[in-house]
Symmetry: C2
């Protein structure tokens, strides 16, 4: 596998990739692989007993693994985007996958991961995204300072405390929502880069919301405000 490719494991995700129109390069299958995937027009390579175990990233290997060309975009590809989710130095693959799902469900135009974030084509992210990675344009390895400039969108940062309560914030206009890292939030980010800050008031302890949950709440507020510009 060259550096310009990534793997998609399991029949469910491979079917999602085919539906999304990803130009799969190859399918590696064992004897238990579903027939429909063998006939999908992608070159099929049969693997002998025990080979899939060495190829797969999980303990319980899947009967089919696809190799797909990387579908990362550049910021320039996102011209005209009006709702972008930016993950800044996000480390956890599960959170990245969940944020991709949230972004898709909330109708975001794209997800951007800044330099130092987890690789969105990491098998764990692909799995956690449940196929969202194949449907939402993804940009990786960019500097946060380039995001707002190239996209010509105000960056609105999500912070645990001290931001405008999210229901009172104006989030229906074009924007890029910036989520911080699990460990440090947006600490270290130049405030001049951000047009505003939003927070989710909540009960319980200070750390009771993680970044993926906050992303879900904020992205659906943005979606709601965009759907009802009169409010």
């Amino acid at each position: 596998m060259d550096e310009g490719a990534f793997v998609i494991e399991g029949p469910v995700l491979v079917r999602e990739a085919l539906v999304a129109g990803l130009p799969l390069e190859a399918l590696f299958v064992d004897v238990t692989a579903p027939a429909d995937l063998r006939e999908a027009g992608v070159p099929v390579f049969e693997l002998g007993d025990g080979v899939m175990e060495r190829l797969a990233s999980t303990e319980s290997p899947q009967p089919v693994v696809a190799v797909a060309p990387l579908c990362a975009r550049s910021l320039d590809d996102l011209a005209g985007a009006t709702f972008v989710v930016v993950a800044h130095r996000l480390a956890d693959p599960g959170n990245a996958g969940t944020i991709l799902r949230t972004a898709e469900a909330a109708g975001a135009d794209a997800v951007v991961l800044t330099v130092g974030s987890v690789d969105p084509f990491n098998p764990k992210v692909v799995r956690a995204s449940a196929g969202a990675l194949f449907h939402v344009p993804v940009v990786q390895d960019v500097d946060l300072s380039d995001v707002g400039r190239v996209l010509e969108l105000p960056l609105v940062g999500a912070v645990a405390t001290g931001g405008t309560p999210y229901r009172e914030a104006r989030l229906g206009d074009p924007l890029a929502l910036v989520l911080g890292s699990e460990a440090h939030g947006l600490a270290g980010v130049d405030v001049n880069l951000l047009a505003g800050l939003v927070s989710i008031p909540h009960a319980g302890r200070a750390e009771s919301l993680n970044v993926a949950m906050a992303a879900a709440v904020l992205c659906f507020e943005i979606s709601e405000q965009r759907a009802r510009p009169d409010k």
Copy 2:
């Protein structure tokens, strides 16, 4: 360890349990355990090299493991509750932990897991809950038919499609929000048990929201409506 106890792994969670006032029965530590935990007034048992690896549920064992008495409640203990989150046949420990965090952050009075759900005292749930399990009352192994009757709360079911759009639903009054299983949602639930259904309208594919993300969006809508009864 008897059946009436569960384990809490790692210094961060053990400290959370102490702050929450859990009457820990014992601490098992290795030589790297932090000094503050050794002096917390809980009986400390030193483990020799390699023993923690066999005790711990994770691949990278923690320097301290606490044993705590189960803190499950019964439905009768929840008298007066006005916001309860019910997970019906929820299977995944990560989802259960995230729902516990969401419930705490949204100010829910309790979390109920029906018969057939994952054990909330499973080490994976304890870990994923990030301490919320120590702060939110939890009831497990009850029948859904008993929940509304004993709590005297209307049950509002979350469904992928066909429910009232959640922003238009009246969710500020006392209620129990019922979340379905990952595989089957609320299929099989007697509709007569439910006072209403809510859905989250979303973009993208049908399965783009999972139950934990839906819980976050719905619980924060409930929290918002409860905070603003005039709206």
